[in-house]
């Protein structure tokens, strides 16, 4: 209560000062202004921009003002990133006059393109997987304001994932960690939708970044939502992020480095595989890196090899007998006993 009183007293003292500064305010009270439609609008020539991890992107945003108006001294431009919670936005960048500020993980990676005073486009450099999403450009000019939303899409690959523990073992937070451990992030619904349009069919439900659980079906069949149903993405809706357990759909994009199969005189156990990569100045590769190499670089190798999570896989771009006869795919041989001396190894050497 004391604090409230202080607040009121301070408000009053501010008011006193203002009376000196603006003696006319006391009489004028509030002026209610109704204008003839907006004179400011904000547009984006594209609603979607595509880039890749490590690349740059320019999110377009153009200010349009009534020509007859005097040019404004102080327009304020603010970029925020939208989240799946419609009430929450993440600050990215703000500029007004000569003042500029960037926030959090965007610090040092964002600036205005600034081709003209009416250009509010935002340049993002060294793009990360987390930068994927929708961005809002807000321009404020006195009483008026305008906004436009631009999507940043990333080239990449989506893959279903479950760890050594087995199927349906991840709550949402485990799922986030599992993707990160495989050099990926939890995929969005739009990314899964694009993959489904490209023919993805997977009959295990997995977490998506908005907290929903879904799976893509192109060939309807009985255990996957029913035989006589139309193809589509089966949706379990938003699930309890703590209590419910599923697989996950991960997304990854281009990497900076080299993914390769390590030629060895004999087959290896898991521990030998880890050491062999280290000896080669590299590290045992992650699942996301194999998917990125396969999808984005056309990597093809018909040798089953260990990966960092203890799984054994091999990437096939050219389907052929004995490897992957019907489709281009990353083939999965399961999570064998780590002591089995039966497989090769895939390594990854980062360019830092």
């Amino acid at each position: 209560m004391i604090a409230v009183l202080i607040c009121v007293l301070i408000s009053l003292s501010v008011a006193d000062k203002l009376d000196d500064l603006y003696p006319e305010l006391e009489q004028s009270r509030t002026i209610y202004v109704v204008e003839n439609g907006p004179q400011l609008s904000v547009v984006a020539e594209q609603s979607k921009v595509v880039s890749r991890r490590g690349g740059n992107a320019t999110l377009p945003c153009k200010i349009q003002r009534d020509q007859s108006l005097a040019p404004n001294r102080k327009m304020r431009i603010k970029w925020t990133k939208l989240t799946s919670d419609y009430l929450k936005e993440v600050d990215v960048f703000v500029a007004m006059d000569h003042h500029k500020r960037s926030y959090g993980s965007f610090h040092g990676r964002v600036h205005l393109q600034g081709f003209s005073p009416m250009d509010a486009s935002l340049v993002i450099t060294e793009i990360t997987l987390e930068d994927y999403g929708r961005y809002k450009c807000e321009v404020i000019d006195g009483l008026e304001d305008g906004t436009v939303v631009v999507s940043l899409d990333l080239e990449g690959v989506i893959f279903p994932y479950f760890p050594r523990l087995g199927r349906y073992n991840l709550n949402f937070y485990d799922a986030e960690r599992a993707c990160r451990d495989q050099d990926a992030i939890v995929a969005s619904f739009d990314q899964l939708y694009d993959a489904w349009r490209g023919g993805m069919d997977w009959c295990n439900a997995g977490w998506l970044s908005d907290g929903s659980v879904q799976y893509p079906i192109t060939t309807p069949r009985e255990p996957c939502g029913g035989k006589n149903t139309v193809p589509g993405i089966r949706n379990y809706g938003l699930r309890d992020k703590d209590k419910n357990h599923y697989d996950v759909f991960c997304f990854t994009s281009h990497y900076k480095g080299r993914f390769y199969y390590l030629i060895q005189p004999s087959k290896l156990t898991y521990d030998e595989a880890v050491k062999a990569c280290q000896k080669d100045g590299a590290q045992i590769a992650k699942v996301g890196q194999m998917y990125a190499a396969w999808k984005l670089l056309g990597f093809d190798r018909c040798d089953a090899g260990w990966l960092a999570d203890g799984s054994v896989r091999y990437p096939i771009s050219n389907p052929r007998r004995r490897c992957s006869p019907t489709e281009a795919a990353v083939r999965f041989s399961g999570f064998p006993d780590k002591k089995h001396k039966l497989y090769g190894v895939y390594c990854f050497k980062g360019h830092d």
């Binding site: 009270r29 419609y86 003042h99 006195g142």
Partner: protein, 346 residues
């Protein structure tokens, strides 16, 4: 000197208001530590929110350098629902721009006399006003915002005795509303219901002893005092012994309404016993309206405690016009042998 606005958050995040009431958001920001208080009494809410203007660095104003005007900050209020964001008003440099939709029912309480007071008052609350209210304050490149969730509850409904039209004196009208878990509606509540889309061509008592009815689509015999213009018609203050229908306002209920399905047919008394058997009692008309507003959808008529027979329709297209309560019991198939609509206190 740079100015930093900081840290606003509401003390409580949700409040409930009645249809036709008004609410006030009080937002203060001054040169003090961040501090928030929300008050609620009757139909008012006060959210006091401080923004701190602090010096971000140690530079000192040079003598004669321009100072930042204390009213140069910009205040924006918006109404946010999942579907859309609707601007309400923007205030800056002593001017307030109010969106047309809010023109006559929103005002800033103390701005610009106290420029650090961003409080607004919204009157004539209607159901559509439920949702999140967001206040953004901006100063130079600094900004901050806060929001509060408001639920507008209650429903105005037209009521007449089961006998026939226009039989209620003012005293009987008040009693009829009370018997149906409601109170006689105020003119402001009827106006808010009209603004929400309510239309009814039957004259009814209101709490100020006037008789009115809400008309969106004027037609012959409903023209009243406004001819072909839409609006709430009024007969003015009437002699309390004249007889009309009544408009009641049901605010909230503590239990729920359910429909007792059965192949049997029930007379009114059997229906009453059936509810008792289920640990409940016959629901009132006011309770049924509240249940309907909350989404209840039943395509079969049921007995209510005032011996009327009604059923609530929200979706079912084939029952009656959707989004209505069907009330003409004489026309319904089960006649006077309907199953009961029971109410239970939870």
């Amino acid at each position: 000197m740079k100015v930093n606005t900081c840290c606003i958050s509401t003390f409580s995040s949700s409040s409930v208001y009645n249809n036709g009431a008004f609410l006030v958001f009080l937002v203060y920001f001054g040169q003090s530590a961040p501090h928030v208080r929300m008050y609620q009494n009757n139909n008012r809410i006060k959210a006091k929110i401080n923004l701190t203007f602090s010096q971000r660095d140690n530079t000192v104003n040079e003598p004669g350098s321009p100072t930042i005007s204390p009213v140069s900050h910009r205040i924006k209020w918006t109404h946010v629902t999942k579907e859309k964001v609707t601007p309400i008003l923007v205030a800056s440099e002593g001017k307030v721009y109010v969106e047309v939709e809010y023109l006559d029912r929103v005002m800033m309480v103390n701005y610009p006399v106290v420029p650090t007071d961003a409080s607004v008052e919204i009157t004539e609350l209607r159901s559509k006003d439920s949702g999140i209210y967001r206040c953004e304050v901006m100063h130079g490149i600094e900004d901050d915002h806060d929001s509060v969730d408001i639920q507008v509850q209650g429903i105005v409904f037209h009521y007449r005795a089961i006998s026939t039209r226009y039989t209620l004196t003012f005293e009987k009208a008040k009693a009829a509303c009370i018997q149906n878990s409601a109170a006689i509606a105020t003119p402001a509540q009827l106006q808010a219901a009209y603004d929400d889309g309510y239309h009814q061509c039957d004259a009814g008592w209101l709490s100020d002893e006037t008789v009115r009815y809400p008309i969106h689509v004027p037609r012959e015999r409903c023209y009243g005092d406004k001819e072909t213009f839409p609006g709430v018609r009024t007969y003015g203050v009437r002699d309390v012994n004249e007889t009309y229908d009544v408009y009641c306002f049901a605010e909230k209920m503590s239990g729920r309404v359910f429909y007792s399905t059965s192949v049997e047919k029930f007379t009114f008394y059997e229906a009453r016993d059936q509810c008792a058997k289920l640990g409940a009692r016959l629901a009132t008309t006011g309770e049924l309206y509240l249940a309907w507003k909350a989404g209840m959808d039943v395509c079969n008529a049921g007995w209510l405690s005032d011996r009327s027979v009604r059923y609530p329709v929200n979706i079912s297209q084939h029952c009656s016009p959707p989004h209505s309560i069907f009330t003409n019991h004489l026309l319904h198939s089960c006649g006077s042998f309907c199953p009961p609509l029971c109410g239970v206190i939870e």
